[in-house]
């Protein structure tokens, strides 16, 4: 599978984020095993050490644990943890940049909400839980 890795951050970080994303989307369930380093390396055609690094990061953050002889498994309760953390990260790091772009393009909140409906087959549609930023 050809994945386009971007040039902004090291691949192992991008892999790490990919796993995080999978956990949040529930594609990777708690208690489920991560695919082996070998399998991921072969499928994405990346150096196995890079995969190991990403996996190590996940282990260091106690998001996955090693089960002897079986590999790495997503720990229980991890999704909640990750969700919280990612929310914070988004609000503090990413959102401000997006906000700046919105202002630059002079987009109105209605336009923003309308675009969500346009998005094809989106699993989660927008449910406003916070006040709209202005």
């Amino acid at each position: 599978m050809t994945v386009q890795w971007d040039n902004d951050s090291p691949i192992y970080l991008q892999l790490y984020r990919q796993v995080i994303g999978r956990i949040l989307d529930r594609h990777l369930k708690e208690g489920e095993a991560l695919p082996s380093v070998r399998a991921v390396a072969a499928q994405y055609q990346i150096n196995p050490v890079t995969i190991s690094k990403a996996y190590q990061m996940l282990q260091d953050e106690a998001l996955v644990e090693k089960q002897r002889g079986k590999g790495l498994f997503v720990k229980l309760g991890v999704r909640e943890l990750v969700m919280e953390r990612e929310k914070q990260r988004f609000l503090v790091q990413e959102w401000p940049l997006v906000l700046e772009q919105i202002k630059r393009l002079e987009l109105s909140p209605d336009e923003l909400l309308a675009s969500d409906a346009l998005a094809s087959g989106s699993a989660t549609s927008y449910r406003p839980q916070e006040e709209q930023a202005r």
Binding site: N7, D8, R38, Q45, I46
Partner: protein, 297 residues
């Protein structure tokens, strides 16, 4: 990690033409090296020296021994494909497997068969009846079924279609690679192999221009995308190359050439991103190199 191949001061002279000028390399277990260089750069000569095919000056130690002393013993643990198009035309695939089984103590027949089973190649076919891509597949399948500590592949995907190339890399990583082995690949298609490499050596005109881990290289070389307005300020950064298009300029920077102040200045000049190996190589090859300016691994 242990060293598997150690090269110090390797020189090779061919009647007045110096093919290799004091090459140093240290290759360890678990590493996947890319040896990159233009045609005539000496990369094949370097590999030939490692494979015990030619005489040389300097020191080479492969798995603890000199490569041209008792070469056949070394070959039990060093597998190589010097050219994918060299299987004998008269041999049948089945015969080639039988031969390797009888002659190579580390040949794993099951591995070879499991790979070939996934292809359309019939065991009783003569090599001469196979297409170019299939011949390469057979050769690679046979060599990668050897449980060798070192695998050297000189342009293994030359002339192969995209599907075969992808299959090959998958097979390499899935079935062959292990943290105790090391792999050296030469290829003209750096982009294809970029993410697989752990280390890279650029060789040009017989000398190693650069030999580093990919990680180090990616922290050292960056691409800076900036507006042409900021161009003047940026030239002080000693870029390796500059590319201007549509009011934007892309520069390849060697961060070790920059002072701390210059480093801090970077985000204000433009956007930094990781340089691909291809970018770095083009940048280095294009430079009129003063040897002191280039880093050795």
């Amino acid at each position: 990690m242990n060293s598997v191949i150690t090269i110090k001061g390797l020189c090779k002279d061919y009647k007045g033409h110096q093919a290799l000028k004091s090459v140093d390399l240290d290759i360890r277990e678990g590493e996947i090296w890319g040896l990159v260089g233009p045609n005539g750069s000496g990369k094949t000569t370097c590999l030939q020296a490692i494979m015990g095919l030619i005489g040389y000056e300097g020191d080479i130690e492969v798995l603890g021994q000199k490569p041209n002393h008792k070469r056949h013993k070394l070959l039990e643990n060093l597998a190589y494909v010097a050219d994918v198009a060299v299987l004998p035309e008269w041999i049948k695939v089945e015969q080639a497997i039988t031969y390797m089984k009888g002659v190579h103590p580390n040949f794993n027949e099951a591995k070879a068969r499991s790979f070939l089973d996934k292809t359309n190649i019939k065991y009783h076919s003569k090599v001469s009846s196979l297409s170019k891509g299939m011949k390469a597949q057979v050769h690679l399948a046979l060599i990668m079924a050897v449980d060798a500590k070192i695998l050297i592949l000189d342009e293994p995907t030359l002339g192969l279609d995209i599907l075969t190339r992808k299959q090959f890399y998958t097979h390499l990583l899935d079935d062959f690679y292990s943290p105790e082995k090391c792999i050296i690949i030469t290829t003209h298609q750096i982009e294809e192999v970029e993410n697989i490499l752990s280390n890279v050596a650029f060789i040009n005109q017989g000398s190693i221009a650069l030999s580093k881990s990919v990680e180090d290289l990616q922290s050292q070389y960056k691409l800076l995308a900036l507006d042409n307005e900021k161009l003047e300020d940026a030239t002080l950064l000693k870029p390796l190359f500059t590319n201007s298009l549509m009011g934007m300029t892309s520069m390849l920077l060697d961060l070790t050439n920059l002072s701390a102040e210059q480093m801090d200045l970077l985000p204000s000049l433009g956007k930094l991103s990781t340089a691909s190996l291809a970018d770095v190589f083009v940048g280095l090859a294009g430079q009129k190199s003063d040897k002191e300016e280039l880093n050795h691994g």
